[in-house]
């Protein structure tokens, strides 16, 4: 503060800067000549330099800044954390990775198969290494060729920075052995493990290259929701694979569509990265920092950092099933942390709200897997596989295979008498409504195709109730315990007389009637209780009168689950 307030308005180079000038310098508001004058003065005046510096911060700040930035440069190199991004050395195809890879490979020997593979990077043991497929936080995956057995392979290396650590190597070996011990058609086999190599690696079939299939994630990305039957079949295969693993005490911990590989031209699937999810990231996973991989398929207990059990895999399987059916994961949000919070404490939107043509039991099926509370969740992978296979049979041949009882609507389990009574009431009411209105057409069956208005209240209800499973359940049970007026309760009634739920609405505007009963619907008629059939016929008569004798549509496509949602 030697020269605090010099009065001179135009400063000369040999005069000290006044306080206002220094502040303006820092605020970046000083311009033109005064700026040049001040800069030129600062070039030579030690006093004003110091004044300027102290104005910004006292000397200890400057000191700390230097010390932090100097040590930070060092630390960034040492601790491998590069602000949530994979460290530069791990970016696939990067020069550093190639250099590292080349350093552990033997150069190709001329005159062998390598002639056809000019791009080969070299060989390791009996494998020819062709290219880097990908890399994650903990490993590098390369595509190669087993020269002894003449087959393409994928080789996963433990990342160089981990390969030197004894605990990491032990863990790698232990998990690889555990995974290799599981043999099941739905589980990606492990061809071999070499834990003594530097770095250790394991060998698996090469899948996911252009020629050999893609992941379930790719398929959902490309095609959107899968046909219900396909989704159920894939889920059943996953459940069967999980059952085999769980039997051996191995939990996958990272079931997600990216880890399910689809074989080309075959309904078979393979679960990848079994038991290795934490030893080596899947190559397809971008390391996004905080969360290794995506949290969207995590179980609540996993998301909360609690103990993981076999049932955690089943929750994830439920999320995968939900994604297959609806085209997107059950829990989505802007940030990973928000997703995790949703996983922990919100209920997903019912699948039938997202895809209206789905039968109601799909929601009940998903609830068996997506129960937050582990005691309410389906108990074992075996149970899950059995349930899913039964559902699959039902889908293929509904007349011959009943929907598993645990998925049937609560109403129908109360017995046919109550059901029929309720049905009659409902239809009587519908008739009354109809009689009192001059609406052109009442299409009972139109609702079978499109019933958004009927689905919406349930969705709203579910979305607004407290998110505890108990609260949710009580909300859903309400209709069975005390049936509200038929107007609100049409859907369970129709569930009771049809194998699948098909909500009924009274359409305000008549959709184009479909004159012909689709052949796959014909089997339904004989199963109608005769009373219902009679009333239905009456309805058709009334409708024919009001609609000028147009043939009534009697069914729609709602019961064959269109693959093109």
């Amino acid at each position: 503060m030697v020269a605090a307030n010099f009065p001179s308005p135009t400063e000369q180079p040999d005069q000290h800067c006044n306080q206002a000038t220094l502040l303006q310098l820092l605020d970046e508001t000083l311009q033109g000549d005064p700026l040049r004058v001040a800069e030129s003065h600062l070039s030579s005046c030690v006093i004003c330099r110091q004044r300027l510096e102290t104005l910004v911060a006292d000397p200890s700040w400057w000191q700390e800044t230097r010390s932090v930035y100097t040590s930070h440069q060092q630390a960034a190199v040492n601790d491998g954390w590069s602000l949530g991004r994979p460290s530069a050395a791990l970016v696939a195809g990067s020069d550093a990775m190639l250099v590292w890879l080349r350093s552990i490979l033997r150069p190709d020997q001329h005159g062998q198969a390598s002639v056809q593979h000019a791009t080969s990077l070299g060989t390791l043991d009996r494998y020819r290494i062709d290219s880097i497929v990908g890399s994650g936080g903990m490993g590098v995956v390369v595509a190669g060729y087993d020269q002894q057995l003449a087959r393409p392979v994928a080789i996963k290396f433990l990342a160089p920075h981990l390969a030197g650590l004894a605990p990491a190597r032990r863990r790698f070996a232990r998990e690889a052995r555990a995974a290799a011990a599981i043999t099941h058609p739905a589980i990606m086999p492990i061809y071999g493990v070499n834990e003594n190599s530097h770095p250790p690696y394991l060998v698996m079939p090469l899948i996911g290259s252009d020629s050999a299939g893609r992941s379930l994630q790719d398929r959902i990305n490309d095609e959107g929701p899968l046909p219900l039957e396909t989704a159920i079949d894939i889920a059943a295969q996953i459940a069967e694979g999980l059952a085999a693993a769980h039997e051996r005490g191995v939990i996958h911990r990272d079931i997600k569509p990216g880890n399910v590989l689809l074989e080309e031209n075959s309904p078979r699937i393979l679960i990848g990265d079994f038991g290795l999810a934490r030893a080596i990231d899947d190559a397809t996973v971008t390391v996004s920092g905080m969360v290794t991989g995506t949290p969207q398929y995590m179980s609540p207990e996993q998301a909360a950092g609690d103990d993981i059990s076999r049932q955690s895999d089943l929750f994830s399987l439920g999320s995968v099933l939900y994604a297959m059916i609806t085209g997107r994961p059950p829990f989505t949000a802007d940030s990973p942390i928000a997703v995790l919070r949703k996983v922990i404490d919100t209920q997903p939107r019912p699948a039938t709200v997202r895809i209206e043509s789905l039968p109601a039991w799909v929601d009940r099926l998903l609830e068996r897997f997506l129960a937050k509370n582990i005691t309410e969740r389906i108990a074992t992978a075996d149970d899950a596989a059995r349930l899913l296979r039964k559902v699959e049979l039902h889908l293929r041949q509904p007349s011959a295979n009943e929907l598993p009882s645990e998925l049937q609507p609560p109403t129908s389990r109360r017995g046919l008498v109550a059901t029929t009574t309720a049905t009659l009431t409902a239809i009587a009411l519908a008739v009354a409504t109809l009689a009192g209105t001059t609406l052109a057409t009442v299409l009972v069956t139109s609702a079978l195709t499109q019933s958004p208005s009927n689905d919406e209240p349930m969705a709203t209800q579910l979305a607004t109730v407290p998110s505890t499973p108990a609260a949710k359940q009580s909300t859903r049970k309400q209709p069975t315990d005390a049936p509200p007026p038929a107007d609100n309760d049409r859907e369970p009634i129709w569930e009771s007389i049809r194998p699948t739920r098909n909500p009924v609405t009274i359409a305000a505007t008549p959709p184009t009637p479909e004159p012909n009963l689709p052949p796959e619907m014909l089997w339904l008629w004989p199963t109608f209780p005769s009373d219902v059939q009679r009333i239905h016929n009456e309805l058709l008569q009334i409708e024919n009168q009001t609609a000028g004798g147009r043939p009534a549509p009697v069914a729609s496509s709602a019961d064959h689950f269109s693959p093109s949602f």
Partner: protein, 208 residues
């Protein structure tokens, strides 16, 4: 285990300002992506480094980061600065609990999937209190790091170099001026402006 612990004995803000409720309030809104990114940018690396300092391997350290942040996310609605103390104090305690829990679970995990079990010494760690200062120290380091990234993107390269080469690399203004083709006075002005921005950034974040 704390051998490499670097203590900043004194800096002008060594009496760290208590975390004010504003960021807390914003974090309670789950949809506030900006608040959460700000939070993550600062605390993720801090928690990660603290875990890594306890000889955890990368995957485990990342899991700890995740668990801590999740507990924060779950409990933030209930966090009351008046009774629970500073936000940072709470974060560091959570980090410690998660770390200890994790080691304990590694010791008796059901499946073959596991980790190093020879690190249980964390539970006998007598210097638990040190964690708080370590946390503060790491947090401040990370604040500086964030500040550098933000400010560097806001100023010209010449301005940044003027600051970095003189203030961090300790070169003279004359030398840097010659390199950058400008006057020593301009170098001084630029380096002070940059530090001013860095300081403002840090103080604003610290006040949050």
């Amino acid at each position: 285990m704390f051998g490499d612990f670097h203590v900043f004995t004194s800096h002008p803000l060594s009496v760290a300002p208590l975390t004010r409720p504003s960021l807390l309030l914003r974090l309670r809104d789950r949809g506030n992506h900006e608040a959460w990114s700000e939070f993550l940018e600062l605390y993720e690396p801090v928690i990660y480094r603290i875990a890594k300092r306890r000889q955890m391997q990368d995957a485990d350290a990342r899991e700890i980061v995740q668990e801590v942040l999740l507990r924060v996310a779950r409990a933030i609605d209930r966090f009351d600065p008046d009774t629970a103390g500073s936000f940072r104090g709470w974060l560091s305690q959570t980090t410690r609990r998660v770390t200890v829990d994790r080691f304990r679970r590694m010791a008796n995990r059901e499946s073959a999937i596991g980790g190093p079990t020879d690190l249980l010494s964390i539970q006998r760690d007598p210097v638990v209190d040190q964690l708080q200062s370590e946390f503060d120290c790491q947090q401040r380091r990370q604040l500086f790091h964030c500040a550098a990234q933000h400010v560097q993107s806001m100023v010209s390269d010449t301005a940044w170099q003027s600051f970095w080469q003189t203030a961090v690399e300790n070169r003279t203004a004359d030398e840097v001026a010659a390199r950058l083709g400008t006057s020593p006075g301009a170098i001084y002005v630029a380096r002070c402006r940059v530090l001013k921005r860095i300081r403002e950034f840090i103080e604003q974040r610290e006040a949050d």
